[in-house]
């Protein structure tokens, strides 16, 4: 187990950490404004990846168009879900919302399995993303660089949006205290829809990253990142966007190293790691590592 091996594993984990971070930001936003733990986020991620796949495989579109198709498809799905499934049960509280999200997740997944069968499909990646650099014996993929760079740009843009624009401030106000925000004239319905749009777009981008990174998509792929990403969001402190991003990287790298150091016959125990993190976290520091943006009760 050389030092180089560890560094190589961490490098490989950066892309996975970026995907988890993007998904975690979606969780944190929705949990903040709505109190919703949205397990359907994994299916939005899958819908995004499949929109890109369908555009590129059936429509023969170039990669950039695929990326736009992914974001478009996921945002449409997210807005429809908000209107059809989540808004009617909003008043019933967190548990009902959570069960609704589970039901939505199962419905979308099975819809895709019905329509497209649960086959693994190859995801077309442009050549420049497939290049590998050899730097002092470390293999660096071009797609790692691209994924991390795009993720950082998105994070900065999102932080600026949340902290500097009027809509962003409204969003934080709703997350902090919805009723008071409403009294101050904030249109909460609009804020919630915007939160859904942002969360869906981020999940779609993460889905395209998944396709680029692993070269394939599948209707059940949403199940993989959804829990890790949620735990990343809790780790980062609910409502804290930078925290969610950092949490994503911590969980991504931790998971990869955990598997890397495990004997090969126990690789299937991977889920145990994230859940162990969650157990410890919830029992000893339920508020997460970074300050949360919730009203102290």
């Amino acid at each position: 187990m050389s030092f180089q091996y560890v560094v190589q594993q961490i490098l490989n984990a950066l892309a996975w950490g970026s995907m988890l971070g993007l998904m975690a930001v979606g969780y944190t936003l929705l949990y903040g404004v709505l109190g919703l733990v949205n397990f359907a986020q994994g299916e939005i991620f899958m819908v995004g990846a499949f929109s890109a796949y369908l555009a590129m495989a059936l429509g023969n579109a170039p990669f950039w168009v695929g990326l736009f198709a992914a974001v478009g498809g996921a945002v449409i799905a997210g807005v429809i879900l908000e209107r059809v499934a989540f808004r009617p049960v909003r008043k019933a509280g967190g548990i009902t919302l959570f069960i609704t999200s589970l039901a939505v997740s199962i419905a979308i997944k099975n819809l895709y399995i019905m329509g497209l069968t649960n086959k693994i499909r190859p995801f077309k990646t442009p050549a420049f993303l497939r290049t590998v650099h050899d730097w002092h014996g470390l293999l660096i993929y071009n797609n790692t660089i691209a994924i991390v760079a795009v993720t950082l740009v998105i994070t900065v843009a999102l932080l600026l949006f949340i902290n500097r624009t009027k809509t962003g401030i409204a969003m934080r106000a709703v997350a902090y205290d919805r009723e008071t925000a409403e009294l101050m004239g904030v249109n909460t319905n609009r804020v919630i829809v915007i939160a859904f749009i942002i969360a869906s777009a981020l999940a779609a981008i993460a889905g395209v990253f998944w396709g680029v990174r692993f070269g394939s998509v599948q209707p059940t792929m949403g199940y993989v990142p959804v829990i890790s990403a949620f735990i990343a969001a809790v780790l980062g402190g609910v409502g804290n966007i930078a925290g969610a991003m950092v949490g994503g990287f911590i969980i991504g790298i931790g998971e990869t190293l955990f598997v890397a150091f495990l004997p090969s016959e126990l690789i299937g125990l991977r889920p145990v790691f994230v859940w162990a993190v969650l157990f410890v976290l919830l029992l000893f520091k339920p508020s997460g590592l970074f300050p949360a943006n919730i009203k102290p009760s």
């Binding site: 049960v89 069960i99 919830l282």
Partner: protein, 351 residues
Amino acid sequence: MKTLRRILGPIVGLGLLVLLLFGVDRLFPPYYHHLFVLFGVNIILTVSLNITNGFTGLFSLGHGGLMLAAGYASAYLTMPVWWKAAHLSLPSWLTNVHWPLFPALIVGGLVATLFGFVLTAPSFRLKGHYFMLMTLGFNIIMVSVGENLIAFTNGAKGMCPIPTYTNLWWVFGIVAFLVYFVLRLKRSKLGRAMIAVGKDQTLAETMGISASRAKMAAFAISSFFTGVGGVLLVHVIGNLFPTHFGLDIVFDVVMMLIIGGMGSVTGSILGAAIVTGFVELLSPIQEGFTLFGFAFPRMFGLVQLLFAVALILILIFRPYGIMGERELSLRSLGNAARFVGRLIRPRRSVA
């Protein structure tokens, strides 16, 4: 009159159940037999889930893991010795036992209770969806451990020739006992404490109810009977695969619970009947069929899709299920009949 009814009610109910079972046993083909057994197992699972999720407000999604633990424990006891010797590396005293169903049921229930205690007792101080997530995580860990501890569980290849001990009489004997027990529990001091904690924990504690005791008791009872249900299920289908006890089975039981109404025992029975019936009705459609000469292809996932949509609709339009927290009784049936009668009876015409 009241005491008479209290004594006679259960006896009459039991008599009717025995008659019904005799009917199913003698008159119907074996397929319905199997369906009825599944229905009974689903009642056990739903009613026991009701104690935590419905009464006490501890929304657990980890009962699949408890069923899995109980299933393994009972399979160790009832499976043929040669199979265990060939596939698993168990201690020799465990390899050489070959027990009948009843002790396996008890052991399965106790093992499930133990797992429920050890792994979820620390999470009682979590509230709302944090508790749900913790239990969900417990379920996923259990399945993943079951798949990977190959020396003890045979991994994803599963434990295959489990003797099919379960029959109608075992299942419905336990159903009758459980339903009676839980209906009594709901009226007892402990049951009322559970419900009070579920409604408002702070208020209940102010009134001198020990919330942690009520929660512990609820989880223990619920785990025990979930374990029993898991053992019965494993001995109906005759095999044990860890993936079978994943999120899908948890979701199915939660469906039954929510359709019937959380907090209502008779509602749980209704929910179990509806879901079991619809799964059996819809499964052939999923396999593909021909209608008016037009061949519909196989559509895997259709049943799950329809159920998920149905669940969303129920949550939107009838969030408290069919029964809410009420119970179906002869008196409420009479009221309903009178209500329907009043609707049907033609109004006296004026003029």
